[in-house]
Symmetry: C2
Subunit: 211 residues, 2 copies
DNA sequence: CTGAAAGTTGAACCAGTATTCAAGTTCGGG
DNA sequence: CCCGAACTTGAATACTGGTTCAACTTTCAG
């Protein structure tokens, strides 16, 4: 995680020495663990600094408040999630294959980093603006991909304004992923991500109607 | 809302007179408003009792704790949501039509009761067990409907274990609805629910693959 | 070396708020 | 009517946990 450079703490709180950067990183990791395990409200600065093995006051050398770390963390995790999925999808032959690969990667990612997932979702109630930012940027990327795939005649949508339908389809697909991530990544790790991705992939490309 | 009977407060706290039932109801409505506007942690017993126009202590005549009202509220709202959707879907000609009608009703419901929606979602972090209960019961109903529709040859799924695929499809469809509800019911009330439901309906029945 | 800047420390402060309780008021069955 | 049960009241309690700060230590440029 690279949070030290911009995006997170107030500019005047950025560390200026190597020691400072190390300490900041320890605090960030500790905060991720604390928030991930306990949730925003149960988590405490005391817990964060204990995990990071620094004194209580040190926290405020690098962050303005509890909410400030949390926001920084959400932004960083949003970036990490997008990067992970993008990487998994980068050489998919077409959009529908990308859909399948992306979901598989997402479920695996949630299993590997349940705390990131929880933190992003809880942001809905702690810092709604960054939460929206997260999904809006996801949806924008999705919309672009859908439009491109339509251009290449890989997919086709319902009749009517395709701007509007791509937007709605993007949000539908995101919702699918988030809930499948919760169900199979967070709650029950029994099923194989590939199998779940196959099922959802079928739904998205073929639909359920019997022909 | 009927929370007075069972499901909510501890049995020994149930009101025994008409006056008591009235007060309990005022508290429940006040709590729904308070939690819905402020979220669980910003909400306070003081705010709830002020809204209900009763003294602070009266709250504890009917509930054991802040968390107890919240849990009662989530259960009640879960019930109300399911009832509303079931009603809207009850005389749909087939499963795919039901899908479309259910989503339309759900988006409208979220617009009419944004506080219910917020409260249920926040339960994920305040009372995870009731949150799971909510979606698991939704998913169970969904799974039964899917299996019945498959029997009637209205729909068809991917190859392989249909138990597993119905379960996954149920969660995928729930996730779709929840995110479309958030995007079009809570955040942006511009679009017509019917139009969004049409688009999602297309996705679910036809799929995106060009034929 | 050296002194100023950067970093660290943890006790103290403070504000908020869930919960308790003992005293008072209202209700309803006999 | 009357009395005990049901209900209401709000001040007091108890405690939590975010934030501040002044003293102390470490680092590093000149």
């Amino acid at each position: 995680m690279n949070l030290a450079s911009e995006g997170g703490a107030a500019a005047d709180k950025a560390p200026r020495t190597e020691r400072g950067r190390k300490t900041l990183q320890r605090l960030i990791d500790a905060a991720a663990a604390e928030f991930g395990e306990l949730g925003y409200h149960e988590a405490g600065i005391i817990g964060i600094t204990r995990r990071a093995r620094v004194a209580l006051g040190t926290f405020y050398t690098y962050f303005d408040s509890k909410e400030a770390v949390f926001r920084a963390l959400v932004r960083e995790m949003s970036r990490a999630t997008r990067a992970h999925v993008a990487e998994a999808v980068k050489d998919a032959p077409d959009r529908l294959a990308a859909e399948r690969l992306g979901l598989e990667a997402f479920i695996a990612f949630v299993r590997a980093h349940p705390e990131l997932y929880r933190i992003i979702e809880e942001a809905q109630f702690v810092a709604e603006d960054v939460y929206r930012e997260h999904y809006v940027s996801f949806a924008d990327a999705y919309r672009r991909n859908l439009a491109a795939a339509r251009q290449r005649l890989q997919i086709e949508g319902p009749a009517g304004d395709s701007e509007e339908s791509d937007e709605a389809i993007a949000w539908a697909l995101i919702g699918m992923s988030v809930f499948l991530g919760m169900r199979y990544g967070l709650w029950d790790k029994g099923a194989k991500p590939a199998r779940i991705a196959d099922i959802a992939g079928f739904l998205v490309s073929e639909g359920l109607r019997r022909r």
